[in-house]
Amino acid sequence: MGLPSWLLSPRLWDFLVDGVVSTLIILTIVWAERKIAARVQMRVGPFHVSPRLGGYLQLVADAIRFVMQEVIITADSYRVLFVALPPLFVALALTPSFLVPLSPHLALLSRPALHYGILMGIAILFYTFIMVVGIGWAVNNRFAYIGAAREALIITAYEIPVATAFADMFMIYKTIDPIEIVAKQMYIVGAIYNPAAFIVYIIGVAMATSRFPFEIADYEGDVATGPYSDFSSIFLALTYAGGIYIALFSYSLLGALVFLGGWAPITPGPWPADIWGNLAAAAFLLFKTFVLMLFFVFLRSVMPVARLDHALSFSWRWVLTLGVIATAIAATEYFVL
């Protein structure tokens, strides 16, 4: 081929594919969330901006509006963190998706580091929501404080089950290497190996990314939008209206790798030779991610919000129990398989 070799670098392609497709997926998922909710709620949802596309461009219009809005930094907020934390939040939320491979040969990292890709991703994702607590503090508003305190409580409640779910799967696969994990799921996906862990993962991610019914930190009913209540314009887009979806994307990508078999049935050849195969694998993985995200945003249309103490006790009591069951299943499979 006549292309210079740097143009064919798998790192560049991984970066491009991940960057572009994640943006597209996040836009689509916000649109889909509105459309699904509208369909369940006997209405139409976004429509007038681009009726032919079903109102898809509404998202672009909203994004433009967010960017063009006046930036308001309230007088008694802590300015440094108020400005610094939203971009940090987005950056941390997006990083994990760059740490994992999109196909056996398409990855930003190379071997020894790639081996720990999923682990690093989970660790970073757990840090991401500490930013929310920081945001709540920086905003310096009573509702934001309460929201931040709730976020802190929820972080403690979901972290352990989610970590357990992933650890169980690592135990079943006997490896933490993402590529080998996918290779092990060639015929049976992880969610079938260990359904309990999958359910724990679903509930944990719903709590982590404030999906319904756990939209508690930013519950409109009593704390307005919680930590984000004084944010406007681009900051709101970075956190409440965008950042959380990015975190959801990262969580779903990890979930798709570990529980849904990644690019499983597709086994592309080595990178420069089989470009299309690798891209197809990446597309299939991102499609699975998209489906997972669809489920998370679908919950909005059927669920109210749970109460804080119920959510916490639910997580500590039931989800953790389920996590223990998942561990038992994983241990059994560890010795049987």
Binding site: Q41, W137, I216, E220, G221, D222, R300, P304, L308, H310
Partner: protein, 404 residues
């Protein structure tokens, strides 16, 4: 970083209570809050528990009672229906009843049937409104859209019957203003079927759903004694086991001709109040179905005494429409009248004093939301902060109605 605690931190309020005292956080809930409506509550929370709540009403006070003294009594009808637009018919019905008793007007039979029919529609409308807002307060946007979507169909039916979607100005002293067309009755029957099916889904989505169930269950408890002591009314009282409904206990309209029951729940929590609402919607549908069978389809729309004042050429189409000219020349008596109806949120009570001129000397209005406010505060103490919307919505508090 040299930050002062007052600047960056929770400013806590010290309360002298017990040996050590305690520190509480005061939250200003409303009037710009997503779920407060036009009222402000000073909520004091100790941790997650609400220890005190003080209301600050009056943001939408419009001096209804005083305005009612400054104009012809017939001009009060569009004014008073703005007390509670979702419940427009029941409000104006209570006012009209008061004026009828003051003037000694009779109500024609057809008008009684029509008023009962529309009063029940009004109850459905207000219950849908409250259930919808309650649903969004506990976070279910689907419940919100269900309520308002269904109510939109209902107000469209109102529009073809009365001439306006939400401001019917339809009940007049002596009768009603306008007869609904045939197609209204046909669509109404179909609408009820659709409504019942959707209410069932609403129940599954919001109330039976464990998330919603535990938001409502055992929160905002109001015992029967407390509900009576704090003068709760409507679903607020019936959810606490008080078996009182003005439709049955102070009969008006044609409620005696139809079979229905008063729905009472004994638990006294938010769930009970919500269930009372949902079941009352079904009862109302039942009443309307029976009324559709037995109501007279023809006849004058206003009673004899009111029709007497209408000029003869306008009297010809009294079966279709009532013209105002008769009311314009009517003056009030030196008498007094009271009207009482059971609206969706509780009982509406009007007392009017005539002055001998066209204006009333005094109008007294008692609205259910204002009564329920005290019961709501009582129910809220000791609840968690996240329960506040769940309790607030379950009383269906409507600030414009409370502030008058």
């Amino acid at each position: 970083m040299g930050l002062k605690m007052e600047q960056y931190g929770l400013v806590l309020k010290e309360v002298e209570a017990g040996p050590g005292g305690k520190k509480t956080l005061e939250l200003l809930f409303g009037p710009q809050h997503p779920s407060s409506g036009h009222i402000r509550f000073f909520v004091e929370v100790d941790g997650d528990i609400i220890v005190d709540i003080r209301p600050d009403p009056g943001f939408v006070h419009r001096t209804m009672e005083k305005l009612g003294e400054t104009r012809h009594f017939i001009m009060n009808v569009p004014l008073f229906e703005r007390l509670s637009l979702p419940d427009a018919i029941n409000v104006t019905w209570a006012y009209s009843m008061a004026v009828e008793r003051m003037l000694g007007y009779d109500v024609s039979e057809r008008a009684e049937y029509l008023r009962t029919l529309f009063g029940e529609m009004s109850r459905i409308s207000v219950h849908l409104y409250d259930l919808a807002l309650h649903a969004i307060m506990i976070g279910s946007s689907t419940g919100f859209m269900y309520g308002f979507g269904l109510r939109d169909l209902l107000v469209n039916l109102w529009a073809i019957a009365t001439g306006a979607r939400t401001t019917p100005t339809w009940v007049l002293p002596g009768g009603v203003r306008r007869a609904p067309p045939k197609v209204f009755y046909e669509r109404l029957a179909g609408f009820l079927d659709f409504l019942e099916r959707k209410m069932d889904e609403f129940y599954r989505l919001v109330v039976k759903n464990p998330v919603g169930y535990y938001r409502l269950k055992d929160v905002g408890h109001l015992s029967k004694e407390e509900a009576a002591a704090y003068l709760a009314t409507g679903p607020g009282a019936r959810g606490s086991g008080i078996d009182w409904d003005a439709r049955r206990d102070m009969p008006y309209g044609v409620y005696k001709q139809v079979e229905w029951e008063v729905k009472v729940h004994d638990e006294g929590d938010s769930l009970a109040r919500t269930l009372v609402r949902i079941e009352e919607v079904k009862e109302s549908a039942k009443i309307i179905r029976q009324l559709l069978k037995i109501m007279p389809m023809d006849g004058p729309l206003i009673g004899h005494n009111a029709a007497h004042k209408i000029p003869p050429k306008d009297r010809e189409f009294l079966n279709e429409q009532v013209r105002m000219s008769g009311y314009y020349v009517t003056t009030t008596n030196l008498a007094e009248g009271t009207g009482l109806t059971e609206g969706g949120r509780g009982r509406y009570f009007f007392q009017v004093f005539g002055s001998g001129t066209e204006r009333l000397f005094r109008v007294r209005i008692s609205t259910p939301s204002w009564q329920n406010l005290r019961a709501f505060m009582k129910a809220t103490i000791g609840a968690r902060l996240m329960d506040l919307p769940a309790i607030y919505g379950s009383f269906g508090f409507f600030p414009p109605e409370a502030d008058r």
